[in-house]
């Protein structure tokens, strides 16, 4: 899946947005989930239903995301320095698994150069083709494209921005709502907060 590709935004904003995926992840939750699905698909569906109803999938997502600095999992970074340091540790750890970085090419290649690595394979985004008049405005796309599966709807972003503008919720609360929809946890929360604050500031308050 190409879910960390095609993120919209200008270069300044994208300088705060890097995602590292370790593919073939050995996180036990993923392994057990795949095994269960393969051997007992009906039980898997039942367990998933129960977990969803109990809200535990959200908890597991948070656990995956907040594992300590010494664990090696998929991560989102908002600066090049932390990205570089994480890549250095991954290289030293020599996990033998594929590591993929999404972000600005120039910045990522700089990080690789510092640890004597170079790109093995590159994927360029040639942009959006077709009926682009159907798309929401750019400020909304910058937020919604951070969930590559597009589980954060444009209408939700507009509503949350409006709620912020009217003082009903904080931008942190808005980001938590959006983050819950992005089950893969690749939505960059600090960038999302800045973008939705900017969007909210352009709206007129509703009396």
């Amino acid at each position: 899946m190409t879910h960390t590709m095609h993120r919209q935004g200008n270069i300044e904003s994208l300088k705060e947005d890097y995602i590292v995926l370790i593919v073939g992840s050995d996180i036990p939750f993923d392994i057990y989930r795949r095994r269960l699905h393969k051997k007992f698909p009906s039980i898997y569906e039942m367990v998933k239903k129960v977990l969803l109803n109990l809200g535990i999938l959200e908890l597991l997502r948070i656990i995956k995301k907040t594992e300590s600095g010494e664990s090696y999992g998929n991560r989102v970074f908002n600066n090049k320095k932390e990205l570089g340091s994480y890549l250095k540790r991954l290289k030293e750890k020599n996990l033998g698994k594929s590591v993929v970085v999404s972000g600005l090419f120039d910045e990522v290649i700089d990080c690789l150069r510092e640890i004597n690595l170079s790109p093995h394979t590159i994927q360029f985004s040639l942009g959006i083709f077709g009926k682009t008049q159907l798309l929401p405005k750019e400020e909304i796309l910058e937020i919604t494209t951070m969930c590559g599966h597009h589980m954060i709807s444009p209408m939700l972003v507009e509503k949350l921005a409006s709620d912020i503008r009217n003082g009903e919720i904080s931008s942190e609360q808005a980001v938590r709502v959006m983050g819950k929809q992005c089950v893969c946890a690749v939505c960059n929360e600090s960038r999302a907060r800045k973008l939705i604050e900017s969007l909210a500031s352009k709206l007129s308050p509703v009396s």
Binding site: K97, V100, S118, H150, K180
Partner: protein, 237 residues
């Protein structure tokens, strides 16, 4: 998805969560427009309904494809991964899927966020196949093709609406520009959007053949994308 009318309070809380805009008013309550619904369960995942009125309904073929291609929590039987395509270039250092002299393409049909029918997916697969491509065998859309030589999909699925799917294929580097031209041409014929990714193996001297090709042809690309940094252990030399 369905909304139990007896329970629905008409509070509208669920409406903005739907990526399809399929939750519509019916009197003072709300219902799901079944034609527009992607069966992605984003409304359910949100947990927003205060009275638990959102309900899954059993999905039969071909409607089940809506859920398979739109829900993130769904594992594809073919790939064993949760997503709409394969690991594509993400594991190229291990699998060698894209080799020197080849260019890979990912065409995310319906993305970002508009959705698509398989009818439009077929228009694109039929357009690129004329140039000469090799579709990724384990990709879920490839599995739905009735004829890989023409790019035709099964007839019984064409009107199903999904949030997005990924056409994955590769070709010789000499044909890459023709593929891009074919995609530009077919973009006039579809009733949706699609996002195009272009993949290549970098050379040992650090040069990136696709970048040179795109620059020389004056084809623009975004400053951000995806890099496999080559830490995987190859399955074969």
């Amino acid at each position: 998805m369905r909304i139990e009318l007896k329970k629905c309070l008409g509070c509208m809380e669920c409406v903005p969560y739907c990526p399809a805009g399929a939750i519509i008013p019916m009197g003072d309550k709300f219902m799901v427009d079944e034609d527009r619904c992607f069966e992605c369960y984003a409304c359910l995942t949100s947990g927003i309904c205060p009275v638990d009125a959102l309900k899954k309904v059993p999905l039969k073929w071909p409607r089940i494809l809506r859920h398979v291609f739109s829900s993130v929590a769904m594992l594809h039987k073919q790939t064993g991964i949760d997503g709409r395509g394969t690991a594509e270039m993400k594991t190229n250092d291990v699998t060698g899927r894209y080799r020197h002299g080849e260019v890979g393409f990912t065409v995310d049909v319906g993305r970002p966020g508009i959705g698509t029918t398989f009818e439009d997916v077929e228009k694109i697969s039929m357009a690129v196949v004329k140039v000469g491509v090799e579709f990724e065998q384990i990709n879920p859309v490839t599995k739905l093709m009735r004829d890989k030589a023409t790019g035709r999909l099964r007839d019984d699925i064409k009107m199903e609406r999904i949030l997005s799917c990924v056409l994955e294929f590769k070709t010789e580097d000499t044909k890459a520009l023709s593929i891009i031209n074919a995609l530009m041409d077919v973009s006039e014929l579809v009733n949706t959007v699609f996002s195009v990714g272009c993949i290549c193996r970098c050379r040992p001297d650090g040069t990136i053949p696709v970048k040179t090709m795109l620059d020389e042809a004056g084809i623009s690309y975004r400053p951000n994308g995806k890099i496999n940094i080559g830490l995987g252990r190859p399955l074969a030399p």
